[in-house]
Amino acid sequence: MDFSGLIDNFGPLTVTGLAQGAIIALFALGYTLVYGVLRLINFAHSEVFLLGTYACLFAWGLFGLDQNSAAPAVGPMLLYMLVGLIAAIIVSGAAALTVEFVAYRPLRRRNAPPLAFLITAIGASLFISEVVGVATHRNQTGVPPIIQARPVFTIGDTTVTNLQILIILLALVMMFALDRFINGSRLGRGVRAVAQNPDSAALMGVNKSRVIALVFLLGGLMAGIAAVMYDLKIGVTRYDAGFLLGIDAFTAAVLGGIGNLRGALLGGLLLGVLQNYAAGVFGSQWLHAASFVLLVVILLFRPTGLLGESLGRARA
């Protein structure tokens, strides 16, 4: 144990942790949405994210950008960001919908038990990541430096970069937009209704299939954004990137209270920061262990996560 590792680096560890946490949170929103409505741990969500990380790379590739390119000027950078985001969002959204249509909808039609969904989800996840793995020869792909990290301001020994600000802001904005949508809009109420009692929801005039598709789509969109941010922050992607971050994201979703959008944000940020602290104190190898210990401890005191479930069906 090395507390000086934490104390010396407290500020920077917090900031980088928040940025990582924001990505985790965006990713976690997809788990939380789908879980909230279908009570399904959508294992394939990690591959929805994975495809997003490759989609924006592909889009940038069309501009001739690769990991060896020089950082672009502000004008082109905005263009690239936009294009990258759009590509990732489209691909991730489409992937999420495809998974829903190919893997889950047929099961729902046949009234399959919950575990069956979990297993198809696992199958879909395995399939996608393996296909990507074969296609990329399991190599890493480097990301072009679209945004050159530049310090924006410094507090003490802590510099905050433009990229970190962008990531954190984007996560907050998306979370609040989603929150407003789910809790404020008519369609959002439909989502909650399907979550709590699908039959009754139909009796209220809610189109269940559309709501479910919407939920997958929204989760996909968030994953797409998370994917672009991930690419920029980590700088590299690989066929198993989704699986790896997926576990963090799912942990974050549960930590905050699965089915609870704000919980996902809180859980993600908390996890990101905590992992960094743990890496500071115990060494980077303990970072994931620390997040699970945190999870267990929190669940022991709050069995439904920090903020509890909100989308999900409360026990009648």
């Binding site: 010396d8 920077p12 980088t16 890493q140 072009p144 922050k233 980590i234 700088g235 992992q275 190898q285």
Partner: protein, 364 residues
């Protein structure tokens, strides 16, 4: 040594056998395995081409690089009586699990890359190692940091693999007080965000980071270090000597990264290996492709010399003294490379994106 034999009957008599590659061809470690397999296969290809027939067949066995898979695959290898020798297993872990099986079947093995020190002390008679073990490479890397880089503050980290951790430990002990701080990361594919490590490196004031691990993680770390504005030098062992590193990090970031390797640069051998490899596989030779190429040639030479049983071939390995493209090979009693031939070179990534020979490191 036998010299070239143009005797038709002799060579025909020594045909119809197989040489096997045993290692990861799929799975997350496939990359390293494939590099080695392709080097191995290239050698046999060239041999067969020279013969004008498929004299020696290639047999590939995919262990996925996993110790848990290896025994079953090893047993199926052993069942093929035409196999005279094995290049592999590449990783130390799977070697532990598979070598006892090869030992009991008496099939000679030459590993081009499994560098765990203890492998040679198990009493396996079929075990041969075509590279120096971790005990040789670590001191060399430390010497390079001290003498060539002249760094005074060094950060040492590793990925906790048997290989990476062992290497880092040696480096650490050799560097002594130069080490300002240490850290460990998770293994390949188990961690992608190294911001905590990067931060620690930065705040430690180190001008050099030695990372015991493979190029996969190293590429990400290199990139994140650069993105965070760290200006020091990243160093590593043979596991990082792969163009994959710069493919991940971007050539710009990778330039200047130093890797050591208990092998000499293939260009130095003056052969056509580099080009031949590229021509055949449409990609650059990677880590240990050259050693595997040499290992295959050691076997081929032995077979050519009429050692057409596993026992004979194994005996032959005791006496072999073969000059290949990466090194000269002569084995000790325990199957280690003869200390006299242990060479450690430093390689440096340049703007081509690959590690080019820098200097030979004196280890004494």
């Amino acid at each position: 040594n036998s010299g070239s034999s143009s005797d038709d009957t002799a060579s025909e008599g020594n045909c119809g056998y197989k040489l096997a590659f045993f290692g990861a061809l799929t799975g997350s470690a496939a990359n390293l395995g494939v590099n080695i397999e392709q080097g191995f296969e290239l050698a046999i290809d060239q041999y067969n081409k020279a013969k004008g027939s498929t004299c020696i067949e290639v047999a590939k066995f995919d262990s996925q690089g996993e110790a848990s898979v290896a025994p079953g695959v090893a047993r199926s290898l052993v069942a093929d009586k035409k196999i005279l020798g094995i290049v592999g297993p590449p990783f130390s872990g799977e070697s532990e699990a598979a070598d006892p099986i090869f030992e009991s079947a008496g099939i000679p093995t030459i590993t081009p890359s499994a560098t765990r020190v203890s492998l040679s002390s198990k009493g396996w008679k079929v075990f041969h190692r075509a590279v120096a073990n971790d005990d040789a490479q670590g001191p060399a890397a430390a010497a390079y940091i001290k003498d060539n880089l002249k760094a005074t503050k060094v950060f040492v980290a590793d990925d906790q693999s048997a290989y990476g951790a062992g290497l880092a430990e040696v480096v650490k002990s050799k560097l002594g007080s130069l080490v300002v701080s240490t850290d460990k990361t998770e293994g390949d594919g188990k961690q992608a965000d190294f911001s905590a490590l990067v931060q620690k490196v930065q705040s430690s004031g180190a001008t050099a980071l030695f990372y015991g691990g493979y190029y996969t993680n190293a590429g990400i770390i290199r990139k994140q270090l650069t993105a965070a504005g760290w200006k020091g030098t990243l160093l590593g062992g043979d596991g990082m000597k792969d163009p994959g590193l710069s493919k991940a990090s971007g050539v710009q970031a990778a330039v200047g990264t130093v890797v050591t390797c208990p092998c000499s640069p293939p260009e130095a051998a003056g052969g056509t290996f580099v080009n031949d490899y590229k021509a055949k596989w449409n990609q650059d030779a990677g880590t240990y492709s050259d050693v595997a190429y040499d290992a295959a040639n050691v076997f081929l030479q032995g077979i050519d010399a009429g050692n057409n049983t596993t026992a004979k071939l194994n005996d032959y390995l005791k006496t072999v003294n073969y000059k290949g493209i990466a090194n000269t090979y002569k084995f000790t009693e325990t199957g280690e490379l003869d200390p006299n031939f242990i060479k450690v070179w430093a390689f440096k990534f340049d703007s081509s994106g690959d590690a080019k020979a820098d200097v030979e490191i004196k280890t004494s």
